[in-house]
Symmetry: C2
Amino acid sequence: MAQRHLDPTGPRTGSGPGPGPGPKTGPATGPAGGPVIGPAGGPAGGPAGPVPAEALAGYLRAQATEFLRALRLHREAGAGAAASEGSVEAALALRRAARRISGSLHTFQAVLDPGWSEAMRPELAWVSGTLALEHACSARLERLLQALHRLSGTGALPARGPAGAGASGGPGRSGAAARSSAPAAVAARGGSPSASSAAGTTTAAPERGSLTVGAAKAGALLDRQLTLARTRAHSTALQALGSSRFHAVADKVAVLASEVPLAPAAPATDLRPLAEAARERLVDAVAALPLLTAGSPYNAEALVHGLSPDPAPHPQDAPWHQVRLLLRLHRYAREVLLRAAGAAEAAGTPAGTEPAAPLTAVVLPAAPPHDLRLLVAGEALDRHRDASEASAAAAHAARTPRIAPATAYALGVLHADQRHEVEAARYAFQLSWQKDVLGSSQGGPGGPDPVRPR
Amino acid sequence: MAQRHLDPTGPRTGSGPGPGPGPKTGPATGPAGGPVIGPAGGPAGGPAGPVPAEALAGYLRAQATEFLRALRLHREAGAGAAASEGSVEAALALRRAARRISGSLHTFQAVLDPGWSEAMRPELAWVSGTLALEHACSARLERLLQALHRLSGTGALPARGPAGAGASGGPGRSGAAARSSAPAAVAARGGSPSASSAAGTTTAAPERGSLTVGAAKAGALLDRQLTLARTRAHSTALQALGSSRFHAVADKVAVLASEVPLAPAAPATDLRPLAEAARERLVDAVAALPLLTAGSPYNAEALVHGLSPDPAPHPQDAPWHQVRLLLRLHRYAREVLLRAAGAAEAAGTPAGTEPAAPLTAVVLPAAPPHDLRLLVAGEALDRHRDASEASAAAAHAARTPRIAPATAYALGVLHADQRHEVEAARYAFQLSWQKDVLGSSQGGPGGPDPVRPR
């Protein structure tokens, strides 16, 4: 799931910003972030003057166009019972555009028609949430099976057919896998350790040949549960895409692609303070994180409550999830501003009418590495979320009635392993955040820095 | 178990080096390592000239005296069915002296009567190994129960009576604890998560009130198994201390306290090359460790094979255990040399007859921090060993037939937690080792440094 955040987020011009088929190379589109570094340290890295609401309108139109393009691709790829690779990619692009529109509506609320944006945002969140579920289930299963193989010392996961990446493979296949390990289960229940390990190597299904009985059965159980959840999510997504509710959203997005409903005061409003407010919300939320603890390796914090009786997700993860969302909003707000700067650069004129201040000229070329660091920090938080949810899935599976002790033991090891992944992701986020502070002196938890045009 | 390595290892003079009752302060005994820093950067930090075999003889006599003193204390404290705190301390002192004698026989083999030292070493190893087992069992149980409480988010372990530190508390007490959690077991087997968590808070025994059912039952199972092992170890130790084999060892040690059987060539032999060889064996063994991996936090290396079908201890731990032993031998060899230097300092004369080389004078004042770092590194390796054995005990308990899935799940989490402790200990060792290299430019994995008189 992390790679969807690796898509280039540099400024784009033209109305075809998608990485898929379509007008790919506009006049000023170099490598991501390329045009941002001006030839003479000028105001190219970001808008030096006020950014008009029109920049937001352009961004929203481009994202709406991308949404409609992805929707068309999704329908062409066929969205039957077995989703093809093309439809998976199209769904990803659809969610990407929906998130960006929804996030921009949130950050730049003040310049948009309030009634329209308040009606639009929950609908876009519904679309992106509904489409995300299927992918989340298959990614979670993949992560847990990989971990089981790693924990068994068998290295990489053997090829599992198209089930890992896409959405094929019905409950029938996983049911067969579960049945094939049933004799091993019997052997494990009463046998000695050596007997059960011998049974593990002889009777387990070929694709799990190198796993212990417990790991194989835990894998089969997770496969069953998460495949079922994925199948349900797939049906739900199909129903949603065919619903009148979705058609209403698509109609609204089609209107948005040509006409953005701005607020009456919008023409006189500068977008930069709104983007700055989004950044400050992020900085405040990061400052509230226990970064000092996260920065000392092996603090064993993530596994506290690992055996707590509360089956709910770890409450200690919530602030990190919140920062993940705020970091995304900050990134999208930067995309709007950088897009304005890029467009100005392409036209050969400064973005605003004010001359660039010297401070701005010095600081702004650092923006692209900053964006790279934002991506790295965001990936760490994605990993945090994925590991957190995977650990919860392992704990949930362990509460299945009548499982064998060996299965429960393997799920316990797996749960703890994923909780340590959570801790490792926090450590990685903290590292990238500290680097961010050192590199560009912004976004640090230390406090607000002087007002900077962004 | 780690605190026994915090005993001062600085040079001691006089025949009463024990921390217990006895002549505690000899004429030159300052704070540990105190006398080593000479007032003028002279040859005080370590012997500048050759160290005669007589230094070893003095060290062995002192340790033999300490062995006999500890043995007397142990007998006086009473070694019945319930060991008192005094007898536990006396056993620690007995093992400490036995380890030091045995290690010195190994390192300085060349200057000792070969027949005598070859007969003596296995006997001393038997004494120290037999006496260690009981303490290891209770420390392991303590560590695992602490971890269960930490993992349940209940903070510190409630007071468990004298069973934690000493060796009291028979199987009766743990049996009662196991029985008290039996109703919770029934509730957990078929109930829903909410029902079982409710049962956990209402029916668990008072001392485990805040644990989940699984954690409480895992704790009771470990308590049963490790208390049984400890009781057996206690009986074995009592039998050993009363055996004719032990009396023969004690007689030999009594002879050693007055007369050390040196080899014919001993008077002409310098002890420093022998100590240097011990250091080089340590350096070579550390160089073979995967320190680069251990130095990158959250490498997840220690949990690979965490679900492997092999019930044997982790093979990846063996080189670290080996380094632990070599580090100990190096420390004991330094004690012999530093004792010689301390004695020379106390007498106001250089240890040898040669003048101190300038290089020696510059480098040697760094020795006491070096010793401190050796202690820190040794503690990390003790923690590595303890966590490794505790994780194996959790995995072993999970193979008990007919345990509940919730118990097995908790043991799986516990196993993974202790494997991460193993990884954390490796990280800590690596840190202290790197500091060692930077601080005193010796003992590093990089290669041999110039010959230094030690």
